[in-house]
Symmetry: C2
Subunit: 147 residues, 2 copies
């Protein structure tokens, strides 16, 4: 608890840092998985800027490595099977397909990050669709984000 | 270019994927650094939820590792010294202090991620303030985010 107070007192990077209220478990589970997917979105957008030559490509491999780390946590974040957020009902009614896609995403993004680390950013970029199959999955499983 | 078209056609994870228009360099530089800082924010929020016991702590080390990766890219993203976004003018007028803090952030978050990987998540969490000195820096250098 002391650890937590130190963190809250000293860091408080976000206003939503302390959502822990009684009975709010489902809300928190949804919020946590949204943090994971939002972080993936930021890296995807960063890679998009790099690949459209809008910014230098120095951080290409770092973005792929961060995506690989996040993808491992993504399926787990959905496993409590709490409906809501931007998840369509199909996430839960077609769970075997959804979880298979998420596992493949984790495996493939790990492979692409390793390609980047060992063979350089060009090699990773050539497999960007393996590391980021976002659209194929979002078309089926994500509702339009609320404005 | 073929690579880019493939990416845009197949992935398009975000609507803002193609901001490359003539003369928009400064805007893009700001947008890119915001993706970096937003991703840091998502991980910080995730750790906040873990440390307040709102969600399980399985991904603790992954979040610290992603923060370490991002922190290395953060200073670089500010180096073009383009004013705007949520950066206060002090970022540029006090650049030696700002860049020193950002370098320390990168070094310390790397140290904490390694602690987590070698000694476990408890060890990393005990050094969370070293990995995430957000508030100290934001108080001086970040303007209030626009609503």
């Amino acid at each position: 608890m002391n650890r937590l107070l130190k963190f809250v007192g000293g860091v408080v990077c976000v206003a939503a840092l302390m959502p822990a209220v009684a009975g709010a478990d489902d809300k928190e589970i949804i919020e946590y998985r949204q943090h994971i997917m939002n972080a993936l979105n930021e890296h995807s957008a960063s890679l998009g800027m790099i690949m459209s030559f809008a910014v230098p490509d120095d951080n290409t491999v770092a973005h792929f490595e961060a995506i690989a780390l996040l993808s491992k946590t993504a399926l787990e974040a959905f496993e409590p099977k709490v409906k809501g957020g931007e998840s369509k009902p199909e996430v839960w009614t077609q769970w075997p397909d959804f979880s298979k896609r998420m596992k493949e995403f984790a495996q493939n993004s790990d492979m692409v990050a390793k390609l980047g680390a060992t063979q350089g950013k060009e090699a990773a970029v050539n497999h960007v669709l393996d590391a980021l199959p976002c659209k194929a999955c979002h078309d089926i499983y994500r509702a339009e984000p609320k404005q």
